[in-house]
Amino acid sequence: MTEIPKIVSQRLQALATLREHPDTNLLVAFTERSLGKREQVEVLQHLSQCKSCREIMSLSAIQPGIAAPVSPPASSQWLSWPVLRWGTAVACVVVVGAAVTLRHRQQSRPIAGVIAEGTPAAEIRVPAPDNATENKFASLQVPDTGPNTAVRAKEAVSRARMAPAEPAGGNQAAVSPGPVEMAEARTASSLADMVPGRAKDALAESQSAQAQPAIGASSEMKKMTAATSDAFIPETLIPRWTLSSDGTLQRSFDSGRTWQTISVTKQAIFRALSANGLDIWVGGAAGALFHSSDAGQHWAQVRPVVNGEALADDIIGVEFRDALHGKLTSSVEETWITGDAGQTWQKQ
């Protein structure tokens, strides 16, 4: 992400003039896109200059388990385009056909995908012939056509999602989000940053997942490939994350109704996490830092090093504002910053 000169940030802050705040009703209506054009502009103008109101908007806009406001006019306008409507129908047929084919193939061979040793596939909702657990993802899975199944599956889902735009000349910018994308936006919106700022932990819901045996830790700095080559997590389902009180990482694909414990490494106690879509960073005791870019299917340990000195203190804060830029806060109040997804670090 291109940065801006510091003088610009400072003048941006200095130019903020104190004005009367819009009332709560207008802020809500702004978020729900139910204001008239004039009021929309006025509220946006205020928000561009008022940090307090921006904080409130940010905090109140993201709530799990509560349906995020959806703008029906946008989707109905989108669906009113006959070409896009037919494109969606074609995409649905492709996805359903792929799911049926996958189910047919999987019935003839056992599923090997598990994350933790000895853990039944039900824990990660991978379809298995002897798995009585309802497979929520079955309709979204694509045939296992060989190696790189997860990559191909993701590509298939991406193609299905993009299909509505193609008949319109590939002008994706003109396409309003379809049902799949809006579902993603809703679940993505469940990845809460609860208080103002970027470094936040996701909220733990009341239901706790059963503990899973830890996966055997491989040597440091190499990818620990979970045996989930056959397990596919649809891109459309962005998980929610939380850390339990004893420092274990937990993930939910159903907006917090149920949680699975993710064993990243043996004996790791995590204290902070930062998630952006499928990307997640967790940090904890003795400088333990792990990163996954596929919603926890695969993990890589990252060792921040500056001038030959590795981070050995507890990590108590992790903030990643995008895939590349992040900072860690240690228990001795050092800040470690990276601008290249953890490949190099600077210390403050």
């Binding site: 291109t2 801006i4 510091k6 941006l12 209506a29 940090k51 307090s52 109140s60 208080v195 932990d201």
Partner: protein, 308 residues
């Protein structure tokens, strides 16, 4: 009978009477214990709040059409103390209140405290002129009641967070006997006024949405996802916008500096080397040497929601 409000609006625009009647029917106000008269008064209050005095009938109609009348009737009936309305409100929103509070505070006792205090304000434990003053009386139906409750809770949480930080800092510093440093005087290094003027010129000319995105990302350090959610767009849209903005800002500022008599090289240097960066680094080093860390560390360890 209200002296002004919808009745006066209806008098001015007789056609609105049937419109308001339909709205009352749709609001189920009668079920919640709200009379037609009370409903009319509420609509009149909302029109006065959001529209100019000389608003046209079409504007009023448009405003009323956008209102969530059922939630409005429910909220206002609760504010007036109608028991059945409270039963409905609690059935729909009580659990959500606690869920939202838990999600915001991430700590169960703080969540309960927050939810309970909001609930008390909604119920109206305070009185004004002998009447119960309920926060629900300020809901106007412009957005969903659920969204309004979330926003009210977010506001309260942020206010508590800020109050607590101020209280903790003052109490702890007094106990530690730490002497407060005198206000730092501005460094002698001055920024070229042409740079400030050029930056101001460019920023003021930006559309509000662009300034909002810049401020949210670079000042508030919000994530792309958070900003996208607030504006109702895709995260990738925000990423592209930010990239484009950052590049065009630079270009425009350089052009503005050029118009102010700076050479291209001078202008680029003025933007790339900000002496305030150097000053900040020195300041932070000095702060570490004077032992300011102890308090900060304690502040970081203070449990969330601990107001004692």
């Amino acid at each position: 009978m209200p002296k002004d409000g919808v009745q006066s609006v209806v008098e001015t625009f007789p056609g609105l009477d049937s419109f308001v009647a339909v709205a009352y029917e749709k609001s189920r106000g009668q079920v919640f214990g709200l009379t037609r008269e009370q409903f009319d008064g509420i609509l009149g209050e909302i029109a006065r709040k959001y529209l100019p005095v000389d608003a046209a009938q079409s504007e009023i109609r448009e405003l009323y059409t956008s209102l969530r009348v059922e939630e409005l009737a429910l909220a206002r009936a609760c504010a007036l103390g109608h028991e059945h309305a409270w039963e409905v409100f609690l059935t729909r929103y009580r659990e959500k209140l606690y869920d939202v509070a838990g999600y915001i505070t991430k700590e169960s006792s703080a969540a309960r405290e927050l939810a309970d205090s909001i609930y008390a304000e909604l119920y109206g434990t305070a009185t004004r002129d002998g009447r119960r003053a309920s926060k629900l009386a300020s809901y106007t139906g412009r957005g969903s009641l659920e969204g309004w409750l979330r926003t009210v809770m977010a506001q309260e949480h942020i206010n508590r967070y800020r109050r607590q930080r101020r209280l903790v800092s003052l109490d702890e510093e007094t106990e530690e006997g730490i002497q407060f440093a005198s206000a730092e005087s501005e460094a002698a290094i001055a920024v070229d006024p042409r740079v400030e003027a050029a930056v101001d010129e460019v920023l003021v000319a930006l559309p509000s949405e662009d300034r909002f995105v810049l401020a949210s990302y670079f000042l508030d350090e919000q994530t792309l996802a958070e900003i996208a959610r607030t504006l109702g767009v895709q995260e990738s849209t925000i990423m592209r916008k930010l990239d484009k903005l950052a590049k065009s800002l630079r270009k425009q500022i350089l052009a503005s500096l050029g118009r102010r008599g700076m050479s291209r090289r001078q202008a680029q240097e003025a933007l790339e080397v900000d002496v305030r960066d150097l000053r900040v680094n020195i300041r932070s080093r000095l702060a570490q040497e004077t032992g300011g860390q102890a308090f900060s560390k304690k502040k970081a360890e203070a449990p969330a929601g601990d107001g004692s």
